[in-house]
């Protein structure tokens, strides 16, 4: 289950679907609305990159002009062997035909999430989600390419990483705040419950005694 990120929804003013709010102020507004944002099952269902990724690979290899097929061949195989798998604990991705690679990481160890896109990628509706852990490499540990639902993935991963979900790490203290700021720890609370229950039993007994005496007096 993923938390609704504030329930923000974007109203697009331009038919094109890519509004922006610079100065003119007519283009879009933010609306607060509680709308379930990301369905976990939708994220778990992702396994293959979108076909647009192959288009992007093709266009990017055209940069080399007549030699375009040199980068295109490995990219072609990368596209066709690329598999993602999301589960409740982490992400794994693998690709390769001759040289296989597989990357696994858990949500709890993720340090930061990047979303990057260049002009061509944006026209194709793509963006790269770069996920980093605290390991020594300078680049991103995992780059999720060719996924159209990159924003949903970002929000989902954000919701699962440390400090990203509801209560932060420290907001679960050993002491519990009750009502107007009285702090009780779990042990005191359980003793208090026992005491209350004890008093209840005593009063019940007392009532029983009273009722019996009243009965005797009547009879």
């Amino acid at each position: 289950m993923v938390e609704t990120p504030q329930g923000w929804e974007q109203k697009k003013g331009l038919g094109h679907g890519n509004g922006h709010g610079l100065g003119s102020g007519l283009v879009y507004t933010w609306v607060m609305e509680n709308k379930p944002s990301v369905q976990e099952s939708d994220i778990f269902a992702i396994s293959r990159p979108a076909p647009a990724l192959m288009t992007y690979y093709f266009l990017s290899s055209l940069l080399l002009g007549p030699l375009f097929f040199f980068p295109l061949i490995p990219l072609y195989f990368r596209y066709h062997t690329l598999r993602y798998s999301f589960d409740s604990e982490g992400i794994s991705m693998r690709w390769g035909i001759l040289f296989r690679r597989e990357i696994n990481l858990t949500y709890a160890r993720i340090q930061d999430i990047h979303l990057r896109s260049n002009l061509v990628q944006r026209w194709l509706g793509l963006a790269r989600v770069e996920v980093q852990t605290a390991s020594g490499s300078a680049g991103a540990e995992m780059v999720l390419e060719g996924l159209l639902e990159y924003e949903a993935i970002r929000d989902y991963v954000y919701g699962r990483m440390r400090g990203g979900h509801g209560a932060g790490a420290s907001s679960v203290p050993s002491a519990q705040t009750v009502g107007g700021g009285v702090v009780l720890d779990a042990e005191t609370t359980s003793r208090l419950i026992e005491t209350l229950e004890g008093v209840t039993v005593e009063i019940r007994e007392l009532r029983g005694t009273l009722e019996r005496r009243a009965g005797e007096a009547d009879g």
Binding site: W8, Q10, S24, A108, Q111
Partner: protein, 261 residues
């Protein structure tokens, strides 16, 4: 007119609109923007770069013209001297035209680079969005932040702006000369830069305030499991407390009634 042009450019470049703030407590979202003086500083840099390019073009043209006098003798030996001369002239005009054409475009990019910058801070995380042609967005939670620092050069100091750096763990800088290391650091994915803000102190205080509430090492201590375990326990404890208290109240009422009160 300028607004419409800007809207058109942004639509053609498919620049996504204002970033969505990351999930956090309601009302805790603070959005910081780069200072206007950051734009002015970039504008000066841009002007200096343009002036040096212009000087370069003038020097090149002067050499071509001045050297042309001595080269006529050399040129006469080529079979198509008129063609070569025409080619050189075309190249000159092409270069000058290109220079004039890029002036408004690069100016526009400097402007947009300043306008399309968002530094969003919530109670749990921060999100930085920058870039026009290459849109970059980064999200990091405060639970992972290791260090916050402020950098200010002499010119920035004069203008009253500075850069705030927020670091997470990982991403070792390579060995090499300091200049190279600095360059690597500027591209590091583990550092979030608040470029050109004029209230870096206030942002630092805000972030440090949030960090003070997190007392762990910020290195992958999984709080998820603890959270999931502790939460229901706390809830069941307080529910039991409430049930016990209500039971006591009901019993006391019944007692009063049977005592004839």
């Amino acid at each position: 007119m300028v607004e419409q042009l800007k809207a058109l450019v942004l639509r053609m470049a498919k620049v996504p609109p204002e970033p969505q703030p990351p999930a956090g407590s309601e009302g805790s979202v603070t959005i910081f923007r780069a200072s206007k003086r950051f734009f002015q500083l970039n504008l000066v840099r841009w002007a200096l770069a343009q002036i040096s390019t212009l000087i370069g073009i003038i020097v090149a043209l002067t050499f071509l013209r001045a050297g042309g006098l001595g080269m006529e003798a050399v040129l006469e030996r080529f079979p198509h001297e008129d063609l070569v001369l025409a080619l050189i002239t075309t190249a000159e005009f092409f270069g000058i035209g290109l220079f004039i054409l890029q002036l408004p475009i690069s100016f526009f990019l400097v402007l947009l680079d300043w306008e399309l910058r968002w530094y969003i801070v919530t109670d749990r995380s921060l999100r930085i969005r920058e870039g026009v042609v290459r849109v970059k967005e980064m999200t990091m939670t405060f639970a992972n932040v290791q260090e916050v620092s402020i950098q200010q050069g002499p010119i920035q100091r004069l203008l009253g702006i500075s850069d705030l750096k927020v670091r997470t763990a990982g991403g070792g800088a390579g060995s090499g000369p300091p200049a190279k290391q600095r360059q690597q650091e500027a591209q590091s994915l583990h550092i979030g830069y608040f470029h050109g803000v004029d209230n870096a102190g206030a942002i630092r205080d805000l972030i440090l305030e949030r960090l003070k509430q997190l007392r762990d090492a910020g290195l992958g201590d999984p709080d998820q499991a603890r959270l999931e375990k502790v939460r229901p326990e706390l809830e069941s404890v307080s529910a039991a407390l409430l049930t016990a208290a209500r039971g006591l109240l009901a019993e006391a009422r019944a007692l009063r009634q049977s005592a004839g009160g």
